[in-house]
């Protein structure tokens, strides 16, 4: 009996700690969402997206806290989080680079672009640079096939990449964070 009581207390403490993990801002946005749905589960995907917006990814602690806050089971939330391509359960870099690996982009040079990026960033597909700045994840057809090959950087579409020429493919990028990378890339392309 005593042990049970201790366990109960421990669980309560854990729950309180979990509750504190989410920021006031996150909780407020999630609560607004919950009001729109007949059942709390309906807000799962959007709620995960809110946590990811502020943290870059969804950690074990964050997902447990979210489940607790929404009043749904952790396994239910986890099953949703792991289903979708764009909910990250591992840390990602500050900048996400998504070359399109759809068929139209492949026909016009995706593989070469991906190879160039891997070399320039010194990482493989799905990995993050050692400095934590950039993560490389190819995405299926981005719906810009008339401008193939394309790449999504942060939320900006970079199109008309020179997939078949030797020109540096990063010259079109405007993100200031990528200047260093651009420099690196130019050097390696010479």
């Amino acid at each position: 009996m005593k042990n049970d009581l201790v366990n109960q207390q421990q669980i309560q403490t854990d729950k309180q700690q979990l509750q504190q993990l989410l920021s006031v801002q996150e909780k407020s946005e999630i609560d607004q969402l919950l009001a729109h749905y007949p059942q709390p589960g309906g807000a799962c995907i959007d709620a995960l997206a809110i946590v990811q917006k502020y943290r870059g990814w969804v950690s074990d602690q964050a997902i447990a806290a979210l489940a607790e806050h929404m009043g749904i089971s952790l396994s239910e939330l986890e099953s949703v989080a792991t289903f979708y391509n764009l909910i990250f359960r591992l840390p990602v870099g500050r900048v996400l680079m998504h070359p399109c690996n759809g068929i139209s982009c492949q026909l016009l040079g995706y593989k070469k672009i991906q190879q160039q990026l891997q070399t320039a960033l010194q990482i493989q597909e799905g990995e993050t640079c050692a400095d934590g700045q950039i993560t490389l994840i190819s995405l299926p057809c981005l719906g810009a096939c008339d401008k193939a090959p394309v790449m999504l950087v942060r939320e900006a579409m970079v199109d008309g990449l020179p997939g078949t020429s030797s020109e540096s493919l990063l010259v079109n990028l405007h993100c200031s964070e990528l200047e260093l990378l651009l420099q690196q890339f130019k050097e390696s392309a010479v």
């Binding site: 749905y37 309906g42 391509n85 068929i103 057809c141 981005l142 096939c145 999504l152």
Partner: protein
Amino acid sequence: MNVTQAPSLPLTQHLNLQQPLDLSAYREQGGYLGFSAALEQSSDAVLQIIKDSNLRGRGGAGFPTGMKWSFVPTVTDSSEPRYLVANADEMEPGAFKDRWLMEGAPHQLIEGMLIAAHTIAANVGYIFLRNEYTIAAKRLQQAIDECRSAGLLGNNIQGSAMNFDLHIHTSAGRYICGEETALINALEGKRAIPRAKPPFPQVAGLWGKPTIVNNVETFYNLPNIVLFGAQWYQSLGAHEDAGTKIYGVSGRVKHPGLWELPMGTSLREIIEQRAGGMSDGYQLRAYQPGGGSTDFLLPEHLDTPMDYNSISAVGSRMGTGTVIVLDDKNCPIDMILNLVSFFAQESCGWCTPCREGLPSASYLLSEIENGRGKMSDLDYLEDILQLVSFGNTFCALAPGAAEPLQSGLKFFQREFEQHIQQQCCPYK
């Protein structure tokens, strides 16, 4: 204002990709007149116009829109929610038409949805939008906000008894979300696995309530059909099917792009005239007429009209109407490998043939492409095609994935054998 002149390009008449029309500019050009005309008529009358127009769903399957709507039960309890969903989860490889329409004319989607909502008595709508379509998301949200302020969304729309509000749901990314029952699961915040039918969504869809899911392009057809009538709409088609269609071409052609053309325009006109033919130094090898999940066709099929029945008759599908062109310098096996790998990755894992069959096919294709193939692999691939055929799987994802593979095995038999005999890819 009154619009008496029917447009020759009803889907793209308001399209402006740089700066889409805001509400007042859209109205000045006759926007929302189709909705006003619908609102003045009974829902039955509008349904009859849509049925008579022979509009077929533009998502790929080509199901008659009016018939789909007619399965929604009549309203018995007006407090019960009924849902309308625009399927904007455009993830078919090689398809890029819905993004174009939404970025260029967001108000026309809302107008089409309002007409559909009036017809089926829906009171809540969702635009199920791809996460990556951020420009479309911003422009649609702006258009929705404008409509709310102007009383085009909300309660008692334009002084009528109609209540309808519209929300954007941003997907977290999975191809299977384009399947309508999987999409409904995703909207409910679940894993997007397809549901058993029956019950059909028209009767028991989102949260168990009557739900209609239509493709984005389908909605763009509605305002002018209501304004100018079924007969006018049918007269737009060049062959069997009614209306106009957004056709597109990607791959190694001179001018890849999208065009609104009469339904049933020939593939030759689309590829050679509109897209300008192959880029210099490249020959047309084959093409998929309607996106990544459609069977390959050959140059000898170029004079086929691009409509549902004509494309079926030559062994493929109209699909999304966006053509992917394979040139003579890209390896056909590598193209099939790319497509099958995509479908294997995007399988939701719910039913065994798809979950197990597609990765096996992807593995065998990669062995062949990378010079490790065996002649017996071709028999295995044929077996897998049987395994994932219609009737063996829960939804249409795997049968769709099988299409480029089955036609590829037939048309590129020589290339398959070359890869295996030479133990390398001759295109590398």
